[in-house]
């Protein structure tokens, strides 16, 4: 007896590839947002599979805060070359230099919020009408209601009360001039699914995700790495610890976790036993209970 069944990972892969192809077909000029983090690596990998053996029908766009772990950039460039994609980089520093945004002051300063302006400017400058992102609904409560095809008005704003219903697998990407969409092919994936998929596909990811020794200090419950972009305050003690990162974003607000997980099997075991969500290490979400919802309304990813 033949049973026609797909495992949950195969179903999620099939769904994501379907969404990527719909995006290419329904929009004039899509772009895939690529941060070098694991979710965007998985996205680019899926896009490679969706259009193979042709090249990706859209470029990758990195909104670069300038506050990177050096490993991330090296990895990004090698990865892009390997899948034969085009990469565009939008620098937050350029937005600061041109006076579009003002750098935050103080020891807590982060460029995370500034990214939104750079992103919206880059989308406008490139005439992009759909931006593919690696956002997942399990990440944060404001994302639980996000659509696969998320409509943004001409100001790039998300209105949670005015999103189009998505039925079966029919996606409505019609829009007026000046409006655009954010598209989230990984909507139905969880952190665990992403890790299992990385293991299953043998996808390479930056070394920051694996346990390594690093100078860190504790601030507001997060373990932050000592880098050139962050000022250690009086009373904060810098220690060398074995850590790894669960998400890789701006170096000023991405917290590390103490971990000895040095390979994927151990990471998956650790994720399975985790008592904190992965965004629990993100200082930007801790600013207020509705931090993510507020940022999304402004046009944040």
């Amino acid at each position: 007896m033949h049973s026609y069944r797909l495992s949950h990972i195969q179903q999620l892969e099939s769904e994501a590839i379907f969404i990527l192809r719909e995006t290419a077909a329904q929009f004039d000029k899509p772009v895939l947002l690529f941060s070098g983090g694991k979710d965007s690596i998985v996205m680019a990998h899926l896009a490679y599979k969706a259009f193979h053996p042709a090249r990706l029908p859209f470029p990758l766009l990195h909104v670069d805060t300038g506050h990177n772990f050096p490993e991330t950039i090296q990895f990004r460039d090698e990865f892009v070359e390997r899948i034969g994609a085009r990469l565009e980089v939008a620098l937050v520093q350029d937005s600061i230099n041109s006076g579009r945004v003002t750098e935050e002051k103080g020891a807590d300063a982060s460029r995370n919020a500034l990214q939104t302006v750079t992103l919206l400017d880059a989308l406008e400058a490139g005439n992009y009408d759909a931006a593919l992102g690696g956002g997942r609904r399990d990440e944060e409560k404001a994302r639980a209601k996000e659509r696969f095809f998320s409509h943004r008005d001409e100001f790039g704003q998300w209105n949670p009360k005015n999103q189009r219903p998505e039925l079966w697998n029919i996606f409505n990407g019609r829009k007026h001039h000046g409006e655009h969409f954010r598209v989230f092919p990984l909507s139905n994936w969880t952190e665990m699914d992403v890790w299992e998929y990385i293991r299953h596909e043998g996808i390479e990811i930056p070394g920051l995700y694996f346990s390594h020794e690093r100078e860190v200090f504790e601030r507001a419950g997060s373990l932050l790495a000592v880098t050139d972009f962050i000022t250690v305050r009086d009373g904060e003690r810098v220690e060398k610890k074995r850590v790894r990162f669960r998400t890789i974003g701006d170096a000023t607000c991405t917290g590390a976790v103490e971990s000895s997980a040095a390979d994927l099997d151990h990471i998956i075991a650790e994720v399975a036993a985790a008592r904190q969500t992965e965004r629990g290490t993100r200082a930007d979400d801790k600013r207020s209970e509705t931090a993510m919802e507020d940022r999304k309304k402004e046009g944040y990813f």
Partner: protein, 431 residues
Amino acid sequence: MPDNELSTLPENGELSAVDLLRFTTAGSVDDGKSTLIGRLLYDSKNIFEDQLEAIETSSKSRGDDNVNLALLTDGLKAEREQGITIDVAYRYFATPKRKFIIADTPGHIQYTRNMVTGASTANLAIILVDARKGVIEQTCRHSFIANLLRIQHVVVAVNKMDLVDYSEEVYERIVARFQEFSSRLNNLVDVSFLPISALHGDNVVEKSANMDWYAGPTLLYHLESVYIGTDHNHVQARFPVQWVIRPHSDEYHDFRGYAGRVAGGVFKPGDEVQVQPSGFSSRIKAIHAADGQLNEAFAPQSCSILLEDEIDISRGDMIVKPNNPPEQGQDIGAMVCWFGDQKMRVGGKYALRHTTKEVKAIVRELSYKININTLHKIEDDQEFGLNEIGCVQLRTSSPLYYDSYKDNRITGSFVLIDEQTNETVAAGMII
């Protein structure tokens, strides 16, 4: 599935054993739906410390006595302030046996639209009934929608059993009443009943110590073990073309792959196929997934199909098999649920999206509406607005290749779009 049949099969045996169940929850405002979902997540250890801390803080600041599990699923600031849920929210949890996706739909006035949306991708629906109130109008409405959307599996969860002293008699009365009225709903093939208390956790994840008279499974056990293997159509071969892959490279000079997601049936290399609307025939040369060739492809796999002959095929075309082709025509009768703020215009034109194809459609006639609380047909009222369900006759600008929704949820469904606002204004199921 035989070994080595699919190159995309996980090498990891543990992984392939885990499948995916999508379910939707239906209940009216105070039926305890959010509490039930919170309880499922909490008792199955799918809540993280930081999430629990956040809701503990919120519960205290609201003056709740206990940790309010419902807060786990109340997403947005706007909703918390008003104490309501806007729209469909999606939740995820997993047990060693299955991964679950919950489409959590709110119980207020927009309910029909939201439940139809949540139900469109669900394998199973949980219909909550308050044990104190029994089967009420809203229960009928939820059951009708589950029936209309052809959700194969329905669980009627009689909640708040703690408030009726865990009475078997109350429970049995509700079961009998539900069975009596649902006998008119022909598509509900697999209906299960469960007495629960979401607040205290009886029969949700843990077996209740308060209802010895109930010998059935807990809700989670049922969700983990219900058989969903036949939910896709694996008989009638349907492949809507999404995108044509043409590399234009030296290595793949003549490569032309028709990319899409199988909507029904099984495709194999060597199969004779027909392409709609041109009607040309060919054979499948190969089926590609990016990491290798497939010996077969079935719903809902994404792949690309290569044909022996060069035929002009583009997005919106459908690859089928000649021995069981889809229906074709421009006159479509459908059950439609209206989503738009503006009423449907009889004689009006809309854009119609069906699989990967978009055509224009004129509404020729509203045959009847259904009172979804009583299931009565209404034939003398031509006003058709938000949250209403009725039978509509459409004429399309070019032929559709379709199946009846009862045979195939993908090739039997469509949406209507208002061409001025670009909003999705209706969901349709072809009769």
